[in-house]
């Protein structure tokens, strides 16, 4: 009996150290059921949040913001480079781009939805247990519950969608439906509708990297399914914690400023 408990204790200590260690890992951790354990804090490194298509540098949406908030270049994360919009949908995307200062949901502190939340330039944390995986995104504290082995359909549409997942070897496949179509895919006005069905895949690339790929199917917006792909990078900073980015108050002037009481004459 005693050696068993000692072993168990040591195993828990070891597992705990692997999860909480300040610093990169030498092996991708495994959960108690043998699957890769994606638990941890992750972030992407690209300018996909500006524009998921390849793009050169461009001026800030407000010239007064100067170089500081200009749009950096990006090699793009869309497989094949261009999103296969239907003609009318492409025109809508272009209208979104023109109106982005007022219309981008991100500026209103609206949740980023899926997949945009993943590649916003802010960290997110994955919590994995056998039946359920929770992802918490720093921006506006977005949260997704992912049902491992789930098959039910979404009862109602939501901003962060309804996620059912299954394992395919070491890859976690997540089917996302029930998205409300009100989010954008980036700051350039790329978008999908509420008809979108999204499949994410998470595959370990190395001890501290995950290959994140997303297939988007929406026949009302796109001529064919298309895919984005990018690595997730593990945050290895010591004592890192996901601080609040509750942006509601920062969006109030934008949303309600025009309804303020006029200054007394």
């Amino acid at each position: 009996m005693k050696p068993f408990f000692i072993t168990l204790f040591l195993q828990i200590l070891l597992a705990a150290q692997q999860v909480y260690a300040a610093g990169p890992l030498i092996e991708f951790p495994r959960a108690s059921d043998g699957h890769p354990d994606f638990s941890g804090v992750w972030q992407t490194l690209s300018s996909a949040h500006w524009n998921i298509e390849p793009h050169v540098a461009a001026a800030a949406v407000l010239p007064a913001l100067g170089a500081q908030f200009a749009v950096p270049p990006g090699m793009g994360v869309v497989a094949g480079g261009t999103i296969p919009y239907l003609p009318e949908a492409k025109a809508q995307r272009d209208r979104n781009f023109t109106a982005r200062l007022l219309e981008d949901p991100e500026g209103k502190c609206y949740l980023g939805g899926v997949p945009r939340s993943t590649y916003m330039p802010y960290p997110f944390q994955i919590f994995q247990n056998i039946n359920e995986i929770v992802m918490v995104y720093q921006f506006a504290t977005g949260l997704r519950r992912i049902n491992v082995g789930g098959t039910e359909e979404a009862p109602l549409d939501s901003w962060m969608g309804w996620s059912n997942a299954r394992w395919d070897g070491d890859t976690l496949l997540v089917e996302v439906s029930g998205l409300n179509g009100l989010t954008w895919l980036d700051r350039a006005g790329n978008y999908a509708s509420a008809n979108a069905r999204i499949t994410e895949s998470y595959t370990p690339l190395g001890p501290n990297h995950v290959l994140y790929e997303v297939t988007i199917i929406d026949a009302t917006v796109f001529a064919q399914p298309w895919k984005i792909s990018m690595p997730l990078y593990r945050i290895v900073d010591a004592d890192f914690r996901l601080l609040e980015f509750k942006c509601e108050q920062f969006a109030e002037e934008k949303l309600y400023g025009h309804l303020r009481k006029p200054e007394a004459q």
């Binding site: 999860v19 909480y20 638990s39 209103k108 994995q128 914690r241 109030e252 949303l255």
Partner: protein, 321 residues
Amino acid sequence: MKHTQPTYLVSLLAALIVLTVPLHVCAQEQRKTAWGEPDLAGAYTEFTIAPLERPEELGTKEYFTPAEAEIFQLQRLEEVNQDDETEPGTQADVHYDFGTYALSANEGITSPNLRTSIIIIPNNGRIPPLVPAAITRRDARGDARLGHEFDGPENRSLTERCIVWPSTLPPILPGGYNSNLQIFQSPGYVIIQGEMGDPRIIPTDGRIVTDSLPQWIGNSTGRWEGATLVIETTGFNDNTAWRNATANMHVTEWLTRLDDDTVEYRFRVEDPQTWAEPWEGVYPLTNLNGLLFEYACTEGNYGMANILSGERAVEQQAEKQ
């Protein structure tokens, strides 16, 4: 001498049985996660029959008798689930019907609770008095807002602004509809998410927070003590002001699974700059048997725009007169 030996043995045996029975019961009810921690996971309602504060007439009476509790429970459930009969044309009538949306306080769920109040310390079951500094702060806030309640969004409450719903802050107290929460566990973490708010991410290795960055929902750290999760929360910001508290409020919570349907929630609140003494309470979290739906508040907040434009319309009408 000879006859006392069996008596001694019987007494010893009796003592052992008495001592081990509660442990035995606890062991039976102690569900574990796949990695061996006590399992608190589930979706729960915070609704309980006991009110937050004990009515003054009951003094230090901590429990109802079963007969008293039965009467009390019926009346309390009737009052929280009553049809809202209101007079047409009155302010009270300007509201949607709660029944249409199944929005009762308890959604049909109730669990046994013989207590006369959630608060158990101080022994009158009531929140201790505010200290003078807290009264000054509270009154100053009220005075600053007087006459400016509808000037702009920042003058509205934190709930109307979709910033934070107080019942999702520690200490978690039931209040109104959707008074529910979900507990999720993974190795090293517990997440408590109130249905009307942001998730609280609680590491369970008892770590000390090394930065001093205040958060709306405070900074929580947890540790296991046997079957109980103990959570300490500090580091609130100045604006949270939960029941007039300061950023120095310190909350301790204890969560213990009692059975398949119940988790006991006990809390302690300390803020010497707000209350004359610390106060504690306890109540059961009961299985909700349902899922929590997304509370994307600011995304659907037509209400803020309508409130402000409504007041602008009232002002314009007043100017015309």
